[in-house]
């Protein structure tokens, strides 16, 4: 992980693959070799074994985290996706054609308590490749004990679990990794400079076991994550300095 990050300033291999286009980000001007704003391959800091990760969306009207999560999720086996009612109303129901291939079971839970119950049931089932649960706000049912239960269940059955928190505050939690995800202006579209390109996110890992917390601007293209310039922060190098 640290190895791939140290290469940030030097690499230039991907620049050839991406045709130069009229840059939409004035801040990219400081990196002339990389007009698309795409940097070195980046490896997601992953826990050594499947466990519970918590993911905070910076705003309920920002669905960027969906792309970030799906890009790293294993879809070889069915995924259980639990949404509570408020999450569906406020930031939309998941839409299978946009989620790529892979089996999916969707659960619409009335409240956080039932959503947590469904997630825990899912975590007992080794036939799943992941459990994703979206909860709105800070429900009383979601205390430290509840998250700890999820973490233990996930570790026991070796099924990764993502707890997505919308419009929530980062209280005490038993999650092993805690992320905060926000959308970033996308990578320049090689075919149409005025159109959105591959999505990019500002990912902040603010608590992790066995990893250093950090903050990255990342994009996902051609099935791999790449570093990208964070908005308002200038270049990739600067991102790296903030992290260090």
């Amino acid at each position: 992980m640290a190895g791939s990050l140290s290469l940030v300033a030097a690499g230039g291999s991907r620049a050839a693959e991406i045709p130069a286009s009229g840059s939409d980000h004035p801040q990219d001007g400081r990196l002339p070799s990389r007009p698309s704003g795409l940097g070195e391959p980046w490896q997601v800091p992953a826990p050594p074994s499947p466990t519970l990760s918590e993911l905070f969306a910076t705003s309920p009207r920002d669905a960027g985290w969906t792309g970030f999560l799906l890009a790293q999720a294993d879809r070889s086996k069915p995924v259980l996706w639990v949404q509570d009612r408020m999450a569906i109303v406020e930031s939309g129901r998941i839409y299978p054609p946009g989620l790529g291939c892979g089996e999916l079971i969707h659960v619409e839970a009335r409240d956080a308590k039932l959503a947590l119950w469904a997630m825990e049931e899912g975590l007992r089932c080794s036939g799943l490749s992941g459990v994703i649960g979206e909860l709105w706000g800070d429900p009383a049912a979601l205390g430290f004990t509840a998250t700890r239960r999820l973490a233990v269940a996930a570790e026991r059955s070796r099924v990764p679990c993502w707890l997505v928190r919308l419009a929530a505050t980062a209280n005490l939690s038993g999650a092993r990794m805690r992320w905060r995800i926000a959308s970033m202006p996308s990578i320049a579209n090689p075919f149409d400079p005025r159109a959105p390109g591959s999505p990019a996110w500002e990912a902040e890992l603010f608590r992790a076991r066995g990893h250093q917390p950090g903050r990255w601007g990342v994009a996902h293209e051609a099935d791999t994550f790449h570093l990208a310039a964070a908005p308002g922060r200038g270049t990739l190098v600067e991102v790296e300095r903030i992290r260090a």
């Binding site: 939409d24 669905a63 930031s91 119950w117 080794s126 036939g127 202006p185 005025r194 959105p196 908005p231």
Partner: protein, 489 residues
């Protein structure tokens, strides 16, 4: 009559008649013994009966309620035999072939039926005979309250009036005019002469044959194969709320054994609790793949069983696999790990039981261009229908209902520049589109407008899917409106 008398203020000795509306005024439907003594007969007009005895009390009857009661009793009578049929307005037919020994013999079975109906406040006339027609005749026209006959059916029937053969009224009247008043005399007549006189389908010869078993008369409700079913009778009515759960512990192994023998797996399982007052309590669960694993079945139905209301107490339970599918004995793998697919199916069962089958769903694509119709959902318990769906660029999330937004755009068909969604202004940095989706004219009204979808990104990088409904010049309404429909990840 008895249903009415259970909830009325009149004593048993009052001359009361229940009436229904006939073409020429009220007709007597049922009478109390006291009224019968005073000359009231079911079927006669109320005015005629009043002429004989003006003191008769007339109460409007409720035939629909009676019918409902008989149907409810038919379900309750499932405790004695799985094959029960409502026969006419006031009779139940039970196929008790091979059942009697479970209750300690035919005599005890009949006695059990009588006492249980008596407890429920209903008088019965029970007849058990080799044929359904003979049983009907004996129950309706026999002298005793309970009759059991075997080989001597012919002799027992001989004294009954010909009406017991259930012939059409005209045929009965003809026979009576000919002086053939009892079944015995009718049986003594030569067949050929009878057959010559009665040529229509419902003739006395046929009726006699049916009664004596020379002609088959199956119960119409006979299913070709009976569903696997386990039965538990309790010595005393159980009013404790945990009784159904305890009954399950006994019933499930029994049912699973039957399923194993027949190589079946359960898709729907029903626990029926028979209450002492003649009502039943039902708990039912469904599974996504056939299963006969005791632990899984128990876990599914346990919660619903525990919620059954014992009322005055359960005195019997039946666990029935109403819907089964063939399930060969299978070994998952040599190391004994449960297969993933089956694990997932069990998970779906558990979730569906608790949350409801409409809340646990899998994607089901449909052949349509409208985004909300193209991607439907089906209950995860149901099987998928294969569909060839194209894969255009679509958002990861969609709002259940598109939300109206205010958009600044270059009219008439320019790209959007800025929009207000949920009271916050978003400046649009990048746009791709439009993707034009025409209304499905074969499904929608002619005023439905086309949609121009745009993939947009605001200045902070959030990506949305918005559309403009209609064009200014399409003649289907005023200015086009804009809607927020999806969110990209």
């Amino acid at each position: 009559m008895e249903r009415w008398s259970r909830s009325s203020e009149f004593g048993p000795d009052d001359p009361v008649v229940l009436t229904i509306e006939g073409t020429h005024g009220p007709i007597i439907h049922a009478v109390t013994p006291a009224a019968a003594e005073r000359g009231a007969r079911p079927g006669s007009r109320l005015t005629d009966a009043r002429a004989i005895d003006p003191a008769l009390v007339a109460v409007p009857g409720d035939p629909a309620g009676d019918e409902a009661l008989v149907e409810r009793l038919a379900r309750w009578a499932g405790r004695w035999s799985p094959l029960v049929e409502v026969d006419g307005a006031n009779a139940l037919r039970l196929d008790v072939t091979g059942v009697a020994h479970l209750f300690g013999g035919e005599r005890k079975l009949v006695a059990d039926i009588q006492t249980r109906f008596a407890v429920a406040g209903l008088s019965t006339r029970v007849a058990m005979a080799p044929t359904a027609a003979a049983a009907w005749a004996l129950a309706h026209y026999g002298n005793a309250a309970a009759v059991i006959c075997g080989k001597d059916t012919g002799a027992k029937l001989a004294d009954l009036p010909v009406a017991a053969l259930r012939l059409p009224p005209e045929a009965t009247r003809t026979l009576e005019r000919l002086g053939l008043k009892t079944v015995g005399t009718l049986a003594g007549i030569e067949r050929r002469s009878l057959a010559r006189r009665f040529r229509e389908a419902d003739n006395p010869v046929d009726a006699l044959d049916r009664a004596l078993g020379r002609k088959p008369e199956p119960l119409t409700a006979v299913p070709t194969s009976r569903p696997p079913r386990a039965l538990l009778k309790l010595e005393e009515p159980a009013t404790r709320p945990e009784a159904p759960s305890q009954a399950l512990e006994r019933l499930i192994p029994d049912l699973v054994q039957q399923l194993q023998r027949r190589h079946l797996g359960v898709r729907r399982l029903t626990l029926i609790g028979f209450r002492v007052d003649g009502s039943i309590g039902v708990a039912s669960v469904a599974t996504s793949i056939p299963s006969r694993e005791p632990k899984h079945l128990h876990r599914l139905i346990a919660d619903k069983a525990a919620a059954l209301d014992p009322g005055f107490g359960f005195d019997a339970f039946a666990l029935e696999a109403n819907w089964t599918e063939t399930l060969a004995s299978a070994q998952d793998s040599l190391v004994g790990e449960p297969s993933g697919q089956r694990e997932v199916a069990r998970l779906v069962d558990r979730l569906s039981v608790k949350l409801g089958s409409d809340k646990v769903r899998r994607p089901q694509p449909h052949e349509s261009h409208l985004p909300e119709r193209a991607s439907g959902w089906r209950p995860a318990l149901e099987k998928a229908e294969p569909v060839d769906a194209p894969a255009p660029v679509r958002p990861q999330r969609m709002l259940d209902r598109p939300e109206a937004i205010a958009v600044v755009y270059a009219t008439p068909e320019g790209v959007p520049r800025r929009f207000v969604w949920r009271r916050a202004v978003h400046d649009i940095a990048r746009v791709e589109g439009p993707e034009r989706i025409a209304p499905e004219w074969w499904r929608e009204r002619s005023t439905a407008r086309l949609r121009d979808y745009y993939r947009i990104e605001d200045q902070t990088g959030r990506r949305y899917w918005i559309y403009r409904e209609g064009m200014i010049s399409d003649g289907r309404g005023g200015l086009p409106e804009w809607y927020m429909h999806g969110l990209f990840g």
